[in-house]
Subunit: 336 residues, 4 copies
């Protein structure tokens, strides 16, 4: 049994990690940290886990010094960079924050608003999006787990960028559920407002945008990204708009995606319209597209806490540790 | 007191009309028709109106033959075209359906799936979007009331098209609440699904698209429109993405919209991010924009049953009948 | 025009007051206070009021010293008792908090957790539930506006207590929307939880219970009250369960309520099942009942911010100031 | 591998059965019927199962004649009684409908509105609520799976009835999510209404009431039951109100429930307030209570499609077939 530690286990990302790891036959959670809740039982904060999880939250130091084989960092942005440089090289570290995702520290500072200070650790990290580079992950000990918006958009656009099908700018209109904002109540997640509210935020400035650009990397096709808050709880639903260099038929488009993702366990091609409720509580990404011959719309949807965070983190762990990649994250979506 | 008849009063559009007209000091509702509910009391179908509305639904013929001064047609698409040709010329007719919105019968048939048969009546109709042509409405007796998506997008893009600021295609990602689908329960409005669902529909094929194109009318700037269902009940939230011909500053953009809408009673320029919940139960359209210098995002949001249907219909009536334009539709948005 | 001041205008109660008073033809809002937001515009906190309300929040002192005719206190519990004793006797004061509702200071301290310190002002206050004592209100200058749960339950049970129809204990199961918890985000109103959560709170300890008991006042019929949080935004829905002393028929029950409320403008008897969505955004209370001959269930539902708070406060003001009682609060419920 | 057939697999109960059985290591789904959807793929009706379930819906006859070891009947009320008499005695049949739950055919006809015609099969059925009679289930071939409301209330009240703690009538105020109404859209589950609606239905007439009475069976303590529709999707939350014969302390009450359910894998005693969101997507029932010395409130909450239907059906199958009782239904609740 692999021993697991989770730093920052009291947020929704950490909670989802705990829920998934409970189902994993090859691992055992040894310690979970929370600055704010150190000393109290996990099930006091999350009563749905009463009788199921008997861990208590520990202070960070205890978690870092626990003899774990794998450490998940589910901390707010800007914390992991202070933790990682002190960790032993052989420890497998999967960071769910944005700290080690960007290669360019100037970009980081521009989008996150504070400097990236652990520059010496940066080269050790691999961007953990298995569908676009599973091999780069094998044998590594440090993974920067992608952002939820970035995962949805990169997977939707990657084949189009790689095959140079796009003429000019690409526009991404992405919609998110309230769980993406985390466990701390804010005016934007206050139920009397959020349950009947739809509003955009961070225009031209979302921190997942440089992450997308870094992977898609093509100055001929500028990427415009806009996030919107919706009354969903779980879910990212991303709509991508672009002009095709040359007309393509529906079968050609389907074939392109089949070439890239046909053997991927977590990517489903949808013949019709995808629906955020069809991937809830699962690690699937559903992708579909429609064309008028000249323009193309591509949709992708995923559960922000699963494929958009903790599910993908466990997928990365499975790859790094040599487990079957789908272990513990192969559950069917739940509906209704 | 002007006498009002409403044909098709049992749908949500008709209901909203009744609710607004109840507040109107210059009019009196004389008859409301419903094929399905003829004979029963309005307040039996809509119990929130118990003790307030004591009308019964009548058969269509009764409503058409009532000595009304103004007739609102809130019927499903394809019905008004059979009714209108028989109506007296001096009767003011405001049609909330799509029947008389498109000048080109081929376009109509392509998008609605059946032919427009009342061609002789078509020239009598004016497209009822006061903010882009209030003067065309005065003295007229027939109004084609715009679609909800069309209202949101035309108002957002009209200044940009008119001033030729746009380089290439324009992409519209629009989000709607469930009330837009009407009063009849369907799989897409079934609560166990819709309350946690976000999905697109009718790609490249929504019937409001030709309506937008007809007004914006510019072959240099193709318009791509995509509607999405969300868990909102009321509301259209439209995001418009485009490339600017020449860089513009935020103040220049604000000035453009001030030039066009600065004196409009129902258009508000929002310095920041608009929110669908800020216009609920009101006739306002909130518009905002953001630019990176090269690209522009414009947002517009409205209540689909108010400015997107019945509110705008009453606004049109007020103009045609010489009432103060804001009468009965000047209530503040309601929040939370 | 009567001059109005609102102390504590940044909460949902104060906001609803502003919205209603905007429609009132006989009054003018002169000042609105907010400790937290003094100096900023009302429409910056509540953007749906942009272009409609151009007031700024003032510090409390300014509001208290404004030459207002009527002062609404929409402050958190425990604040009004410090303000009221300093106010001029001729000022009409309507307090939406619990401070002056209970005659017995020991009860107050038991349920609110802190002492009632303005004992000398207590006798000046009348409990402002017009349907059970409109005459007591006339000529008064101080009103204790009832709680939302208390209004729903007292109106449902008052005829039964007065006529001694009840055998033994009465159980009240009441359900509330999230707006009842106010404008400040908390774990209980965090959208990711609240949108799919139903949970009880404060068993045997809710501060509206002594208010109900004080009015219904009958030791033969102990009142058990339990509040539940639901995913509604607006609305109180209260279910009352009891045993009848003697069997009653449905017509007898309807007649009883007609006797008490038949001429009330804001109480509707519903022949069937009431629905919280049928009173939203209105000052109505809908009441219905069902019996198996031996037991009786009575339901009442109201909008917690209207008849449960600000609507009733304006109703009280109308009575005290000699206006038509329904002025500004006669709008129809809004649906959907 | 046990072979499973599901009759009526296109409803939400059947869907939940499929989802659970997919996780069950000892069984294999061989056939799923749907009258309405025979011939089409399960994943076309339920796109979240695309790539996961490759079954097609069959006509009923095929399912009945498949060589299954266990047959689940997830049909509307009134259908199973026509199917069961023709089935082989050795087939294990678990009926999720109400057809075989009531011993008294007069009661059945009174509450269901049509006669129970398979009287000869009735004695073969055991009421499948393991927590109050696991032993009666062993060796049996026919199970009447309890109703969702009945499960919640029987488990909450059983210890109190058995120990004769109750003085007089018991009142049950139960709240349900929209998924309980099934997959077919109706006015009561129409999103524009249901998402902000709370309303009672079937006063003194719900078909789960005689089921509760049959088990609790005590004429000294009449049971009054009232169901309410809420904006939840999943969940039953039941509040039970009663007077105690003798005062009890909180520890005494906790001890009583520990005696009855302390070793039950699916019943959790909650020290505080239970929450419907804490049992979602799990087979747990959470129970809590509060007393003022004289009166007692007991709460129970469960997921209506799990412990209230399909989860409990699989629990019954596990018992009948000699599997570990928690197999495939031991997943933790999912939150948020």
């Amino acid at each position: 049994m692999l021993k697991i530690a989770v730093a920052g286990g009291s947020g929704y990302g950490g909670l989802e990690l705990i829920s998934i790891l409970l189902r994993h036959p090859n691992v055992e959670i040894k310690a979970v940290s929370s600055e704010q809740h150190a000393g109290i039982e996990v099930c006091r904060l999350y009563p749905h886990l009463r009788g199921i999880v008997d861990l208590r939250f520990s202070p960070m130091e205890e978690v870092l010094s626990s003899a774990a084989d794998v450490l998940f960092l589910a901390l707010p942005h800007g914390k992991a960079m202070h933790v990682v440089p002190k960790l032993p090289a052989e420890l497998i570290v999967i960071d769910l924050s944005g700290d080690f995702r960007l290669h360019d520290p100037d970009e980081f500072e521009h989008y996150y608003g504070f400097p990236m200070t652990a520059l010496e650790s940066l080269p050790e990290f691999v961007y953990g999006l298995p569908e676009i580079g599973r091999d780069r992950l094998r044998g590594k000990h440090r993974v920067a787990n992608p952002g939820c918006f970035a995962t949805a958009t990169i997977l939707a656009l990657y084949p189009l960028y790689r095959e140079s099908w796009i003429d000019g700018s690409v526009y991404v209109d992405s919609k998110t559920g309230s769980s993406g904002a985390g466990r701390t109540p804010t005016p934007g997640t206050h139920h009397p407002r959020r349950s009947h509210s739809l509003f955009p935020y961070k225009p031209f400035a979302h921190q997942h945008l440089p992450e997308m650009r870094q992977v898609l990397a093509n100055s001929d096709n500028p990427l415009i990204f806009q996030a919107h808050s919706t009354p969903l709880v779980r879910g990212i639903f991303a709509s991508h708009y672009l002009k095709l260099k040359a007309p393509k038929t529906a079968p050609q488009i389907e074939e392109l995606y089949a070439d890239y993702y046909g053997r991927e366990p977590f990517v489903r091609w949808i013949p019709g319209m995808p629906d955020s409720s069809s991937v809830e509580h699962s690690n699937y990404v559903d992708i579909a597209a429609s064309t008028d011959g000249e323009h193309l719309i591509v949709w992708s949807t995923l559960d922000n806490l699963q494929k958009g965070a903790a599910g993908q983190a466990v997928q990365n762990m499975n790859i790094l540790c040599g487990f079957e990649e789908t272990t513990a994250i192969d559950q069917a979506p739940l509906f209704p």
